[in-house]
């Protein structure tokens, strides 16, 4: 550990935060905690936008070609007095997915919590590269501005799906979208640069700046998850960036990487996209698994069940995520033998996911469970992940996938996994809000928010399995155009009503968040009686985080340890011989 001690010594111990003015404290801040908060606000704004788009789509699917309430002000040709035209519908689902994946889940789970938690939980004063960290946010914000600009160009925003399959995406004539799609590509390239800067920073920080005694196997699982996520990002993003650049060249310079008339191959796009895209799924879900592990252990007052299995299963998922991309392409025209190979690898990746679920159950077993808002949302994540994981086995089986591919079954599956992450996201906000803003959130409002969100999330997404089994295709604008879907329409109406209530169920959260920000009860250092290092710092921690760098004596999950009377034992509290040594210093 000597190298990490020197790394700390090189840092100014009290990086005089008092002298920093408004701009350098709140706007161009190099403090990892402020950058984390900035990512949080970026993500929450985008969450509202992405959610409203989903509401518009649901309206269209339940009551096709009728005016959507409150949208009469949107001018033609985007909307016709509130009626969504097919082109706009395609734009809505493209941008809903793009915003939710790249501008909500990634900025909040990776950008916000990665930034906020890594230095605090490993016992460091800041990230390894604070300036790069600041740049990462501002480049990310620029990507967001470019992405939103796409809504205002002639021809509308990208409408070829978030997967942007060539050839549809490769020629403006096929969709009628010109600069919308170009800006979409440029924005994602810029966002890739932002994420690369972030991931290099995370990896360097975890490797070099752990506090004395913080060995790899004393790291909280949330740090493991963010560390692995950063490695996946570092390796996956260059592939996406290359593919996006090729697509942009096809569109603007007349190259034909993906266009067959110029000798290109449309399937090449799919291979490149999913080679990035499947690790991306784990980039989204691993941090959610990490925070869930920490929160379940804390509120069960019990060590995490099978810590090493949890860490190794995440490493296994990370490795396997590189060899499963072809399961998105079973009916694409890819060689069927390759389909068989990808089915095998996909079945294998289900195993570490199962291990995680059983270990979470094992953590609850014999616990002393406190039903706080973060705990409820973490349990909600587990419950959704069980459904999303199990429904994935259907499409892993190649013959079954022939039927359910491109149907609502897939939509149900990935919403249980990816939209299910929103439960981990809320759990994280409720859990770390006291540390982040120095005030507690309201528990009653939090519980109301949980109950409503949990019920209406399931009522929204579970019936989508029925639609998929009925053969209901995704990405269709009007299901009533098909005779075989007529009987399924009542399900569509039911889903839409549930989705609208699910949207409204977020109001208690918004109220709670802003009210608590200004008027919540002052938070103490360790309101949840948790073990990890961030709770030994003041709430909120000052610039530099710790008065003195903590020394770590044990793993992060020593709850209800027989060694102490209380049911928690912080990582930095010396006991017995350690205490004697610490006193002697």
């Amino acid at each position: 550990m000597s190298e990490s001690i020197t790394a700390h010594a090189a840092h100014p111990v009290h990086a005089a935060h008092a002298e920093l003015g408004f701009w350098r404290t709140y706007v161009f801040s190099k403090d990892h905690k402020m950058i984390g908060r900035q990512f949080l606000f970026l993500g929450l704004v985008m969450l509202v936008l992405g959610g409203l788009m989903a509401m518009m789509m649901r309206w269209e699917l339940a009551w096709p070609e009728t005016p959507v309430p409150f949208t009469g002000w949107i001018s033609e040709p985007t909307m016709y007095e509130g009626v969504i035209p097919p082109q706009t519908y395609n734009m809505l689902f493209t941008m809903h997915a793009t915003l939710m994946i790249f501008f909500v889940v990634m900025p909040i789970m990776v950008g916000c919590f990665g930034n906020f938690l890594i230095p605090l939980m490993i016992g460091a004063r800041d990230m390894a590269f604070p300036t790069l960290n600041m740049l990462s946010f501002w480049v990310g914000l620029l990507a967001g501005v470019v992405m939103l600009a796409g809504f205002f160009v002639p021809g509308g925003h990208a409408a070829s799906g978030w997967t942007a399959y060539a050839t549809l995406s490769a020629k403006a004539a096929y969709t009628g979208v010109d600069w919308g799609q170009n800006l979409w590509i440029i924005s994602l390239i810029i966002l890739g640069i932002s994420s690369l800067m972030g991931s290099i920073n995370y990896i360097t920080t975890v490797v070099n700046m752990r506090a004395p005694g913080m060995t790899y196997f004393r790291l909280p699982l949330v740090i493991w998850s963010l560390f692995i996520t950063a490695i996946l990002l570092l390796l996956a993003l260059p592939v996406l960036t290359s593919a996006l650049a090729m697509l942009l060249f096809d569109r603007t310079l007349g190259t034909s990487f993906f266009l067959p008339e110029g000798g290109g191959q449309p399937l090449l796009w799919q291979h490149l996209f999913w080679f990035f895209g499947h690790p991306e799924v784990y980039i989204l879900v691993l941090p959610a698994m990490g925070v869930t592990s920490d929160i379940l252990s804390t509120f069960s007052r019990k060590p995490i069940f099978g810590y090493h299995a949890m860490a190794f299963s995440m490493i296994a998922i990370a490795f396997l995520s590189w060899v499963v991309w072809g399961h998105h392409m079973f009916v694409s025209g890819m060689n069927p033998l390759l389909g068989t190979a990808f089915m095998m690898s996909t079945m294998v990746i289900a195993v570490p996911s199962a291990i995680k679920t059983f270990n979470w159950l094992g953590t609850l077993w014999g616990g002393s469970i406190r039903f706080t808002s973060p705990m409820l949302f973490a349990l909600g994540f587990v419950s959704n992940f069980v459904i999303g994981g199990l429904s994935g086995i259907f499409m892993a089986s190649t013959p079954v996938d022939i039927f359910i591919h491109d149907t609502y079954y897939i939509v149900a599956h990935f919403h249980y996994v990816v939209a299910g992450i929103i439960f981990a996201l809320f759990a994280s906000i409720y859990y770390w809000f006291p540390k982040m803003f120095g005030r507690m959130m309201n528990e009653t409002l939090g519980k109301i928010h949980f109950v409503l969100t949990y019920i209406f999330f399931n009522l929204t997404f579970f019936p989508m399995h029925f639609l998929g089994v009925g053969g209901h295709m995704r990405r269709i604008y009007n299901p009533l155009q098909y005779e075989f879907l007529q009987d399924l329409q009542p399900i569509n109406v039911f889903i839409t009503v549930s989705a609208l209530i699910l949207g409204a169920s977020q109001i208690p959260f918004i109220v709670n968040f802003f009210w608590s920000l200004f008027a919540g009860k002052r938070a103490e250092r360790n309101p949840w009686q948790a073990n990890t290092l961030e709770w030994t710092a003041p709430s909120p921690p000052p610039h530099g985080n710790f008065a003195t760098i903590p020394t770590v004596y044990r793993g992060p999950y020593e709850y209800s340890s027989p060694e102490v009377a209380e049911d928690w034992l912080p990582q930095d509290r010396p006991l017995g011989r350690e205490a004697a040594v610490a006193r002697a210093h």
Binding site: Y89, N90, A159, G161, T167, L168, T175, P260, P266, K302, P303, I304, G306, Y307, A309, V331, G333, P336, T340, M347, A350, V351, I355, T357, N359, L361, L364, W365, G366, G367, S368, I369, F371, L379, V382, S383, I387, S391, I393, F394, S397, T398, P399, V400, I402, F403, H405, D406, V469, G470, G471, M473, R475, I476, Q481, F484, L488, Y557, S561, D567
Partner: protein, 219 residues
């Protein structure tokens, strides 16, 4: 849930549905076990005065069990899937009934061989969106696309295959029951994607001959 499955009128659909059911029961059982345990644990192990959580870091035997059991089930499922998959996608049976389907924004162009029963000759017949095939006969389809990726989807035959520009992909099915079945496009293909559909008419041999005469005399 599976009662929503559309009627199956193909020779291989039964095998696909069988796998669907097998996975449905396995995952259903796993779901019930996990959910039941979770609810029981949440009730039994809720925080109560004077009780302390059990201090344990895991149980190796248990962890090995719940790693190995799902792994075995998943491997078995994979092997069960292989034969059906290769039957549907890899080994199209020989047949003298071949049509060419070309997808384009936003129609299916169906090309019949005409009286000489050969594709690519002068007497080929092209019809948009209506596909007639005889019942109980292997139908081989050469699937192409003129512009973007479309997906040839016959829910009642459990068949789906993307049509990729620049490629010719061989697809096959054998319908077992005469009738009229919908043929939607399942891959996003532009603003007219929703509503891009045709009809598959599975005819008795007599009806098929009658239709063929009718259509040949028209052209």
């Amino acid at each position: 849930m599976l009662r929503w499955l559309p009627e199956d009128v193909s020779t291989y659909g039964r095998e696909i549905d069988y796998l669907f059911y097998v996975i449905y029961y396995i995952t259903g059982a796993a779901f019930i076990i996990v959910t039941f345990l979770m609810i029981v644990f949440l009730i039994v192990y809720r925080e109560r005065e004077g009780r302390r959580a059990t201090y344990t870091h895991g149980n190796t035997a248990l962890e090995i069990a719940w790693t190995v059991i799902p792994a075995v089930i998943l491997v078995v499922l994979s092997f069960m899937s292989v034969s059906t998959w290769s039957k549907v996608k890899a080994h199209a049976p020989e047949s003298d009934f071949e049509v060419q389907v070309t997808a384009k924004q936003f129609n299916w162009e169906i090309l019949y061989p005409g009286p000489d029963k050969k594709l690519g000759t002068q007497d080929d017949l092209m019809i948009e969106n209506d596909m007639h095939v005889p019942v109980n006969k292997v139908v081989r389809i050469i699937l192409k696309s003129k512009d973007v990726i479309h997906s040839f989807f016959l829910p009642n035959l459990r068949l789906k295959q993307d049509a990729v520009p620049g490629r010719e992909i061989l697809v096959w099915f054998e319908a077992t029951k005469p009738g009229k079945y919908e043929l939607p496009c399942a891959e996003l293909c532009g603003f007219g994607h929703s509503g891009m559909k045709g009809w598959l008419f599975v005819d008795t041999p007599e009806d098929y001959e009658k239709w063929l005469k009718e259509i040949s005399s028209k052209s």
